[in-house]
Amino acid sequence: MINQNETILIVEDDSQIHNFIAYILKQEGFSCFIAKSAQNAMAVLLSQKIDLMILDMGLPDLDGMEVIRKVREWSEMPIIVVSARDQDKDKVSALDAGADDYLTKPFSAAELMARIRVLIRHLHQTVKSSAQPVISVGELSIDFEKRQVFLKGETLHVTPLEYNLLSLFFRNIGKVLTTQFILKEIYGIGYGTDTQALRALMAGLRRKIEPVPARPRYILTEIGVGYRLVDE
């Protein structure tokens, strides 16, 4: 993965942290910009082509939530939130505002890199997905045109609801989807609070795609937040 030429913006006011993030990003071959305030970040975003943003929620001039909302007005770039706030509701509101992932401080470099890689890879996939109707994650693949799911090359029988759920995850690989978001997408508005139905649906789906449902490979549970489809 040395031929990466993506540019990553680090928005973080703590110099120790942005130093080490910048260091590991450069090690991995990314080029990066550092912004120490929301205002600074906006200036960089307007003048440079940024592919991904790492955002600290506690900025000196503006709440991170506001930055997410502003960026989402004109860009779909992946945003990874890095925050010392570990309340579930902070995570959920950041994700609902449009963030793609959320890491609580302190986090390991390996963890951050893994999250970045998934989102970057997914970035290329979405660009191509209109041309390529089949997306694979591990041994699991989905054909959007034929509305079919394959596991280890064989057709997997899923209910329409399970298909909708899987296609939602495949369209958002690597991204944490909040429970509320999934409920809205799958059942429509009005079923917004029936998390138990989603848990049951998820358990059923896992029994079809995961060898050990309690040790999922594909769809991971982010307790108190939601789910994420990974491709490692």
Binding site: D14, F20, I24, G58, A84, D86
Partner: protein
């Protein structure tokens, strides 16, 4: 002999009766005076003079009318006078009560209220009353406020006979009657009135006393609710302050810790593993991580132990929670295999998933510390009608006899380990216990036959 016409004499007679009843109290004087005047009239002005005999029998009619008129006059006057006196008394009463309520509204604490009612009741009843206040738990104070004959108030110790019960006045005292001051079935204070005053109190005095007690009850109740409001305001402020502090600590410690951990990780990355400096960087990283665990545990425990923890209970699939805990463990110890044995059907248990996954992480962490890499660690789930039992079993060193009774104590770490291995903080299991008990479940530890230990906790399947 006075040259008076008889009519004049009669008018003077009636006037004198009127005067007498006006100046005296009660009906008796008026009636007496009218009878005496009549006899005098008979003596002096009817023939034969200077005798009580009467020649002209028509005089008897005059006498009868005179008597009747004079008695009525005197009766009316006396009644009028009594009404005036009563009105005066009422005015005095209402004035005294008005003064008292006025002062009661301004009173700032219970003893001030007690002073006011003691003073007013002493004035009204013309004796020396006293008052014992009760605190908000319904316990009487050890001293009372006593009115003295010179008009001053003193605070003195209660005599044993005066001591009231929790539920109201005592009747043991020979010298005083005790009147309770109630509000909402709770005794707020007790008013002590000398027993001889009690037995001689007039109706109006009794009425006054009741009014005083009523007003005092209102005033004390108002004071109580004000105090309760102030207290809850204060508690809310403290709670806000505390949670702000916790948030600030967790935020301000996490940020530099991520700096330290990240930088040392960066150093480890730069150095080769055989470089002697690599160990130094690794030590920094491990210490920072240990510190991080400590801080997280302390923060968690503070939240749990304050009893302020609000469980976010929802039906959760137990496999998801176990999966999340395994994910955490995989990051911490990537090469450690943990087996899972759960029934095929989906088990939904009402719980706060985040907290229960923390229980699992703590138990797994413990198990992996005491179990060699190649030995088994197993999570298993069993259910019956009432509860789900989740067990974390290992084939490690087991639990020693001396550790067993202290396992779930805060800050207890095992004594039987080598001194050079890093000790735990001794909070993990205490946190587990707090979380499980908050869910109305149980947690226990046993040694397994064949070696190793097993920690089992239960969660009720019915949400309450």
């Amino acid at each position: 002999m006075l040259d008076f016409h008889e009519t004049n004499v009669v008018v003077v007679f009636i006037f004198s009766v009127l005067l007498i009843s006006r100046m005296t109290r009660g009906y008796a004087y008026g009636i007496c005076s009218s009878v005496i005047s009549l006899l005098l009239f008979n003596w002096f002005f009817t023939k034969p003079y200077y005798t009580l005999k009467v020649n002209d029998l028509t005089y008897f009619i005059t006498f009868a009318i005179m008597t009747f008129t004079s008695i009525m006059t005197s009766a009316l006057t006396t009644k009028e006078k009594q009404a005036a006196a009563e009105a005066y008394e009422r005015e005095y009463e209402s004035n005294a009560l008005y003064q008292m309520t006025n002062r009661l509204t301004d009173a700032e604490d219970a003893s001030e209220i007690a002073e006011i009612i003691v003073k007013t009741s002493s004035d009204v009843l013309n004796c020396n009353t006293a008052c014992i206040c009760f605190d908000e738990n319904g316990v009487p104070e050890k001293t009372l406020i006593q009115h003295k004959s010179d008009g001053t108030l003193v605070r003195r110790e209660l005599t044993p006979a005066e001591e009231p019960g929790r539920n109201g006045p005592a009747d043991t005292s020979d010298s005083e009657c005790q009147y309770p001051i109630y509000a909402k079935n709770m005794v707020l204070a007790v008013l002590l009135v000398p027993r001889d005053t009690c037995s001689t109190m007039s109706a109006s005095q009794t009425r006054m006393l009741h009014s005083i007690i009523e007003s005092a009850a209102l005033a004390l109740e108002r004071l109580r609710s004000l105090q309760a409001q102030a207290k809850s305001r204060e508690e809310a402020t403290q709670e806000r302050y505390r949670s702000n502090l916790l948030r600030a600590i967790s935020h301000d410690i996490r940020t530099p810790l991520s700096g330290i951990m990240g930088t040392s990780e960066m150093l480890m990355d730069k150095l080769k593993e055989e470089d002697p400096n690599y160990v130094l960087a690794e030590d920094i990283y491990q210490d920072a991580e240990w510190l991080h665990n400590l801080v997280e545990n302390i923060l968690n425990l503070t939240k749990l132990r304050d009893g302020k923890l609000v469980l976010d209970k929802q039906p959760e699939a137990i496999e998801e929670v176990i999966g999340a805990a395994l994910m955490v463990m995989e990051k911490r110890i990537p090469d450690r295999v943990i087996d899972v044995d759960i029934p095929d059907e989906v088990i939904m248990v009402p719980m706060d998933a985040k907290l229960i996954s923390q229980v699992l992480v703590n138990l797994l962490d413990n198990a992996s510390k005491h179990t060699p890499k190649d030995r088994e660690i197993l999570i298993s789930v069993k259910t019956d009608n009432e509860k789900a039992s989740i067990a974390v079993a290992d084939r490690g060193t087991g639990i020693s006899e001396q550790d067993m009774p202290h396992l779930f104590q805060m800050f207890y770490t095992t004594r039987s380990k080598d001194s050079d291995t890093r000790h735990g903080v001794g909070l993990g299991l205490a946190i587990c216990q707090s979380i499980v008990e908050a869910h109305k479940g149980t947690i226990s530890a046993q040694n397994r036959s064949g070696g190793g230990a097993v920690f089992t906790f239960t969660l009720p399947l019915e949400s309450d």
